[in-house]
């Protein structure tokens, strides 16, 4: 009987002890916290979307910059919260609706930014840009974050998209980099005949498939087509857009993409390319670290990866292969309601400036600020892409970035449906056109 009672007693004792111990530690913590406060230390809350696991290079750079900043400003403490891309988007919306935005955070441009600015959640940053970063940005990038002449975001990245491909697989089946769309279709056919998935795409969230659609629209209807549609100069039911949607479905019919792609996320689809099950992957330059500098990817794989520009469509109006689909990636905002607005602005400007230098050498991503490549040791693919950028004739900002959240969501749904053949190209075009028309009223 005694023995039976011993166990519960021990359990109770352990619980009490652990409570007592945690009681001991928590006052310690709060003591150091209040000590910090009495030193006059200001806390800036900063939220970003580069977790250690999936974006190691960016994560490390940001951490380094934060450390440098804290060293230069002993009175300031930067508190970070880090989430993956999609979770970050969701959380930012939730925080915004309860008015609890971090002091500094990341935002996308154009359509994403607009409701936040209309809700007066972001503060204009022109003063701090003029003081610190006047001529640093690549022309045209900063403007994507401007509404009514005021700039609400400081761009960090500039992304353009390419088709990345597995050189070894191409070599194995004697394939050459395609210059025209019909050459591209032949490649798809050859790869299919040999049991290789030609291209990976994940359409659960819709936007990766939209890259294919946007490039086809660019090549068939000319580089300004989609931007004109957004600005109401042309209609979405333009024959060129119908043609682009038809081409997407004909790619699907040719088994260009892995099976069941409308149920896969971008990361899941990326797995097919990284495992060398798929030969091509149309994505933006934010993936560059995985093909150049990231220590987590085996060198053998990196050596196999090359890229080419989206091929030209025979008879299309987009005749310049140097026209890209892309756009500014994320930029930094400072919250209007921040209690430490001035410090937050200063920190954001510091981060953008430092990021410009460090992202070049350490991460291999393209910053939105001008880069002086001289004297830096860079991966050849990276140098090549910087060169492309300087000779780019046009960069069409992603359609869903330019559109309002309503239209963007619809576009994502419809792209998944288009790839899954749930709707016809005509329905795709009509439904989007109807949503755009409703909006402009």
């Amino acid at each position: 009987m005694n023995k039976k009672k011993a166990l519960p007693i021990i359990v109770v004792l352990v619980v009490m002890l652990s409570l007592a111990l945690s009681g001991c530690t928590s006052p310690d913590n709060s003591a150091s916290g209040s000590q910090g406060a009495s030193n006059g230390q200001t806390v800036i809350k900063f939220m970003h979307l580069w977790p250690e696991g999936s974006s190691n290079a960016q994560y490390t750079i940001v951490n380094k910059i934060i450390q440098d900043y804290e060293k230069q400003h002993p009175d300031i403490k930067i508190q970070t919260e880090i989430l993956g891309n999609d979770q970050y988007r969701e959380k930012l919306k939730v925080l915004a609706s309860s008015n609890e935005l971090p002091d500094v955070g990341m935002t996308w441009s154009d359509g994403f930014l607009k409701p936040y600015v209309e809700g007066q959640l972001f503060t204009p940053l022109d003063d701090v840009i003029d003081a610190n970063l006047k001529d640093n940005f690549i022309p045209g990038v900063k403007e994507s974050y401007a509404i009514d002449g005021k700039t609400y975001g400081m761009p960090l990245e500039l992304n353009i998209s390419y088709i990345f491909y597995n050189k070894e697989l191409f070599k194995k089946y004697n394939l050459q980099v395609p210059k025209t769309y019909s050459e591209f279709k032949n490649i798809v056919k050859t790869l299919n005949d040999n049991g290789v998935i030609p291209a990976a795409v994940g359409n659960k969230e819709g936007w990766p498939g939209s890259f294919w659609f946007m490039y086809l629209a660019d090549r068939i209807g000319g580089p300004t087509l989609l931007t004109d549609v957004i600005h109401g100069k042309r209609s979405f039911d333009d024959p060129a857009i119908v043609k682009a949607a038809e081409e997407v479905q004909s790619l699907v019919d040719m088994n260009t993409f892995e099976k069941g792609n409308s149920g896969l996320s971008n990361d899941e689809a990326k797995g097919y390319f990284m495992n060398e099950q798929a030969a091509m992957f149309l994505t933006a330059t934010w993936e560059l670290p995985n093909y150049t500098t990231s220590p987590d990817v085996p060198q053998a794989f990196k050596d196999k990866i090359g890229y080419f520009k989206f091929p030209l469509y025979e008879g299309g109006k987009g005749t310049d292969i140097n026209s890209y689909v892309g756009g500014p990636g994320v930029g930094l905002f400072v919250a209007e309601n921040s209690e430490v607005k001035e410090q937050a602005k200063d920190f954001a400007a510091f981060l953008v400036k430092e990021w410009g230098d460090k992202s070049v050498t350490d991460a291999g991503v393209i910053p939105a600020t001008k880069v002086d490549t001289a004297g830096k040791k860079l991966d050849p693919m990276y140098v090549e892409i910087l060169k492309d950028l300087s000779s780019a004739s046009n960069v069409t900002t992603y359609f869903d970035t330019q559109a309002s959240p309503n239209v963007a969501e619809l576009h994502h749904d419809l792209i998944a449906a288009l790839f899954g053949k749930q709707i016809t190209p005509q329905q795709f075009v009509q439904q989007t056109a109807a949503a755009l028309a409703e909006e402009s009223n």
Partner: protein, 292 residues
Amino acid sequence: MKAVMSNKSAIALYVLPALLLILIIIYIPLVLTGYYGMMDWKGFAPMKFIGLDNYNKLIHDSMFWKSTYHSVLLGICSTFSLLIYLAVSMVLASRIKGANLFRKIYLIPMLLSSVAIAQLWSKIYDPSNGMLNHLLTSIGIQNPPLWLSDPNIVLFAIFVPIVWQYAGFYIIIYYAALKNVSEEVIEAATIDGATPWQVASRIKLPLISPVFKVTIILALVGSLKYFDLIFVMTGGGPNHASEVMASYMYGEAFSKYNFGYGSAVGFALLLICLLMTWLIRKLTTSGEDVQY
């Protein structure tokens, strides 16, 4: 004690904290949601009162009714799966060998978080590299179904893990109820020559029927407002093929910034849940509770 219980103000004092809490956390937001439903509101910009426009739009919104239909389907599926759980717990409650072990096996899915379950099943369902399709191709099926991207099957493909997830919960409830049936009654019946089948259908089932009614309501209402697995696995896609009421509400409020309309959807969801609960109570309170 008696003195306290007869003192009305003391009773009020004791009830007050819990009452306040439940008012602030549940009832006031409920009313507010209905009120926000009458607003044209982005979630952070100023609100504009538009009366019943949102509710009017809701009634004519085919997408909403489609998601309601999906939620009701899920409700029906989970209600029928209760019968399976009941059968399983009947077997477990009779003294068979290893009942203890099986009880734990059924309980384990309940210990996993929904997101972990969603990740697990997404991997199982992966069209080319998933366990399920590997198995199907290895036994000679050339084109196995694309579980999460075929709009015709995606809904049922998601129902499987949902039903699986809650198995342990209901089995435990039934198991406890069955263990409560007094041994004497069963023994008396057995002596009178009742077969095990008769014992189960004439004694055990009627005696636990109140519990069964409660679980029907739990399963039905739980299904109507179900959200997590669906949100993580497909996000309601592809193209709304697996959209349920709660994910539709989320999409409207947080992806499209139609907070007002999202609130209206949420309020409608509440009304539908209330209606269902009332209906089930109406249908199941016909007979008196059985006693032996």
